[in-house]
Symmetry: C2
Subunit: 644 residues, 2 copies
């Protein structure tokens, strides 16, 4: 009977596949290409893979994650449910990972900092990269050559002739060319009448003749910088010749179907085909983003000669299909922080088949190249002043230092501020509620990105919302919802929730709400990040007053209301002018590094110089964290502006 | 009807295959893996692919290359014969390419020069490589590492840890590691308890971590030097740690089935699948030699970490599957003389899957890395004295110069002195007649290698034989056989021949003879080589008396009787003490270069410094060549010792 297969159909997508009797529904969904949320990776803990069985035989296990009412309707957790016959399974919107949707990132920070000449115009929150700190020497450079053909007086070989022509135009010390290029060289040179374009790639200290093309394609040279986040994958198309940013797209990291955080994914990677699946998931993301980025532009995949990736250490392992097992085994050491430049095709990335893939060097097991890139982009490593960089992501990383010294730490914040793991969370795209004001009479006003009908709440929206419901006394300092007399506060069977927008105002099937469980998630996130910063400052013998500059990075919104972030205790209570919001500093840094070999050298220096402090076994950190599980903090004295 | 296939069986090998109606027998034989001689590549000119149709229908074209008697018996040329039905084809021994036979090369020169400590013992004819001119720094070096495992105080990544351990033991500047090694690094280091052996490979200026293996395999590090000749492929197994030579094997270049000389093969390469076939033919040779070399030794393919190849420019193109078309198109330029180090597996060579393949840099279109290697091995480039190096092979190359200047030229000599293209020719292996004495009464004495029953005649045997039959007046100065009264001189229908050994004394089915056509071939070879040397000397404003040293290289025998080589006009008439026979200098040089990166640098310098003189369009050369088509030469004054 083990061999009997049943047909499982997922609705509304109508994706189907054949599953063995006893197969669990979550794995079956993945097999089908149906991406379902699963924070815990299939352990029945997070309750996010809730689905409704419409028809067919199944077995499921009891769980407290499904309310009695939902259970009666036929809701189950996909991970706890096994196939016993042909099935029709409805995946409710809240359980669906909207990974197919690749969206434009409309962050002015990304754009402006890309256009050096406009950098001066950036107002408060703008980025501090100075124009042309790093010489323009991109990962891949194109060079058009009109090579004098051989004659009876000048008979050196084709390859030496090509090398000579390159060296006449460019100072290249160690040059390498692969066999495939040499194999086609003879006919290529002659068929193109000795007029070719070579793409020179930087592979550490050596220069590789990566591509040789007929004719002049010198002005078709593009690269893509990627920020590979645990929750969000962002790609930015850049003209490698002019440094112009041509577009930025982001999408949910498909790996989220296998777990919300890096640890769950590392565990999943040890399962059969687990590493393979995680690898392909992110590569799919990247290929889809690349396809979208060049859509409608006169650019094809062969014009893309390089990719630069920044991401946390686990993401980089999965990207390159390097077993991440040892990251979570004592003494927690990654396989590599400094990764060699490889051919993008080796990882399955579809650009020019010989185009290069480079990764921003990482710092330690839990602080990756995204932070190296962020430090570079923010200019922290060049600052004279004592500076704090807080990167709010699924891992919250904090860097403290200046041009003389740098320390960093990492806190497992969870994806709540990226709009994941919270019931109405979404990324900062059109339709996301990004600003919220609630007056004393509980009148609610909100603004959405693009002024569209609201679909959900993005990170900056949650910061506003938390602050407002706290100030309006809708929640207490512990984060529990007070049962005030208003139709906006209700309990539909799985705890109290506050309705921000009723379905009549929104474009969705659901009311847009914040649940107590969401508040709990957000509270843990903000506590993790604040306490990491606090401990780091303390460990260096400083206190927050010594911090002269604080950069806030992250992809959670177009902007952040600093005073509201302070109000909920996410950020320390510093004078507002010391803060600067710098957006997705990882992708900005990755782009700089892609555009300049000097910037890569600087990134390597940053990664080597930075001292990593491990918080997980630090007693003080746990205490600090627990104290942070209040709004804004157990110790109100630390937040004078909020107390007032 | 075009689709009808017929079964063709070759005898005595019993190899069979299915051929389309109209397919020619030569191509069909290749398809079958039946290797038949074909000097002209299937143009019906050389007459070497003579086969006997035993049974079946065929069509053939008239040819003067088959005697009337043979035609009556059913002999045809395979290249001019097409399949019209099921066929049984007998391939006579003389038409068979004995490629499967891989033989030991028992040359003392190869052995002795390999053992530096014995170099002093080498008597006349020995090699001049001085002990330890070049520091021992082989293509691949193994390094056993006991790496301190990570702990909470020392948490750098596995890859950086490995790099650190390597750099503690060895001064390495630019180090690269490929993704495949990184992917297995985490588990490999832990499973081997942090005790691993790394193989470091030289790729120009950079060092690559080529292989990482568990445990200590430091003393298992072998390389193979190859001389890829047009006619003969020779491989030598070397312990890369101790420099010891462990064996030398040689075989017929399988490409000979597609043509005797490089031009015929280049033409064949332009045909459909031609390049592919030529490439696979030589790779097959190399893999078979490698297999034979390690047989009976405690060495497996994974212990072989590097291969160094020397060969003429066309051979190197075919080895790496680089289109050689442009070598024979004006202005005769190769695709590459300096080839990058690649993975041997990329070319199909079966050693360690990540082992390296390096090629000795070539000089020009018609003077390849075999000559660079020969110059290095002979020490010519370090000589103060004016020195001549003559390499007798299918291409005869001549180098003239000293440590200040070097010029070279190439002459298309044909494979006769390598025992190919002559009716009883063979390589210098056991059973080959290597010495011949004929007295005035036409009594014949000969010696064979290994004192075995004679099978054929090797290059040095032909030199002796020509000289002896010339002195005994069996041939005239033009090379035609005089009809003396002896049973040794006869005409069996295809011209006069002289019997060196009757089948009763030999181990074969045939008498061992030299035909007028063989003498013609040998005469052309010797004229080509002598005239190249003569013109080169003349062009430099010198004459042969100015030559203070002459190195004779080539794989045609264990030794060469210099006075007999002078007697036939192959070598100039210099005082005997100025000559040194140095054997296969190409493989000796390739081995030196494999054992020392300094030697590789030297080889590059030689290849760059050498001036190539083109003889083919030199009017003086053609005149000189025609004058050389006599024994010893038209101008007897040039050979006073012979005249006497």
């Amino acid at each position: 009977m083990e061999d009997k297969k049943f047909k499982v159909t997922f609705l509304p997508s109508k994706k189907t596949c054949m599953a063995n009797v006893g197969a669990d529904l979550l794995s079956t969904a993945i097999e089908c290409g149906e991406y379902i949320h699963s924070s815990c990776g299939g352990d029945g803990i997070c309750g996010r893979c809730k689905v409704l069985i419409k028809k067919g035989e199944y077995r499921t296990q009891p769980t407290g994650r499904i309310s009695y009412q939902d259970r009666m309707k036929g809701y189950v957790l996909a991970c706890l449910t096994t196939v016993q016959g042909d099935l029709e399974v409805h995946v409710p919107k809240e359980s669906r990972l909207l990974i197919e949707k690749i969206t434009d990132e409309d962050s002015k920070f990304l754009r402006l900092s890309g256009m050096y000449s406009q950098a001066a115009d950036v107002s408060a929150g703008g980025l501090l990269i100075k124009e042309e700190i790093y010489t323009h020497s991109p990962l891949a450079t194109k060079l058009y050559l009109e090579i004098p053909p051989p004659n009876s007086e000048d008979k050196i070989s084709d390859l030496e002739r090509l090398d000579r022509a390159i060296k006449e135009k460019k100072d290249v010390k160690i040059m390498q060319t692969g066999l495939r290029n040499i194999r086609q060289l003879g006919s290529l040179l002659r068929q193109s009448d000795w007029k070719v374009t070579v793409t020179l790639g930087k592979r550490n200290e050596t220069t590789e003749v990566v591509i040789i093309e007929p004719g002049n394609t010198e002005n078709r040279n593009y690269g893509i910088a990627f920020d590979i986040g645990t929750t969000t994958v962002t790609g930015q198309l850049v003209n490698l010749n002019t440094k112009e940013v041509l577009g930025t797209k982001a999408t949910h990291n498909k790996q989220a179907a296998f777990g919300d955080d890096v640890i769950t994914r590392i565990i999943y990677a040890t399962e059969e085909n687990g590493l393979e699946r995680l690898h392909h998931a992110v590569i799919d993301n990247m290929n889809e983003i690349i396809k979208q980025l060049i859509l409608k532009l006169d650019i094809n995949l062969n014009d893309i000669t390089g990719v630069m990736c920044a991401g946390n250490t686990t993401m980089m392992h999965l990207l390159l299909k390097i077993d991440p097992t040892y990251i979570r085994k004592e003494p927690y050491v990654p396989t590599a922080n400094f990764l060699p430049v490889i051919r993008a095709a080796e990882a399955g990335i579809k650009i020019h088949p010989r185009g290069l893939l480079s990764c921003v060097p990482g710092i330690s097991t839990y602080v990756g190249g995204d932070i190296t890139a962020g430090v570079l982009a923010s200019g922290l490593s060049e600052e004279k002043k004592t500076t704090l960089l807080i990167d709010i992501g699924t891992n919250g990383e904090v860097v403290l230092g200046n041009s003389d010294w740098m320390v960093c730490a990492s806190a497992s914040a969870g994806p709540a501020f990226e709009g994941s793991g919270v019931s109405c969370g979404m990324r900062a795209i059109n339709g996301a509620i990004e600003k919220v004001v609630i007056d004393k009479n509980l009148n609610v006003r909100y603004e959405t990105i693009g002024n569209d009908k609201p679909i959900g709440i993005c990170g900056s929206g949650y910061i506003d919302l938390l602050c407002e419901i706290f100030k309006a006394n809708i929640i207490n300092r512990d984060g529990r919802i007070n049962t005030l007399k208003t139709e906006r506060i209700r309990d539909l069977g799985d705890g109290l929730e506050f309705v921000l927008a009723f379905k009549e105002e929104s474009s969705g099937e659901f009311d847009i709400v914040i649940k107590e469980s969401d508040i709990e998630n957000l509270k843990r996130s903000k506590a993790a990040i604040y306490s990491a910063a606090s401990i780091l400052v303390k460990k260096m013998g400083l206190n927050f007053n010594n911090i002269e500059r604080a950069y806030i990075a992250g992809g959670f919104g177009n902007c952040i209301d600093i005073s509201k972030a302070v109000c909920i205790g996410l950020l320390p209570d510093l004078p507002k002018e010391r803060f600067k919001f710098i957006g997705n500093s990882s992708i900005i840094g990755a782009r700089e590094i892609m555009l300049s070999f000097d910037a890569m050298k600087k990134a390597e220096e940053i990664a080597r110089k930075m001292t990593y402090l491990e918080l997980s076994n630090d007693h003080g950190y746990m205490e600090e964290y627990v104290s942070g599980l209040f709004f804004p903090h157990t110790d109100l004295e630390r937040f004078p502006s909020v107390k007032k």
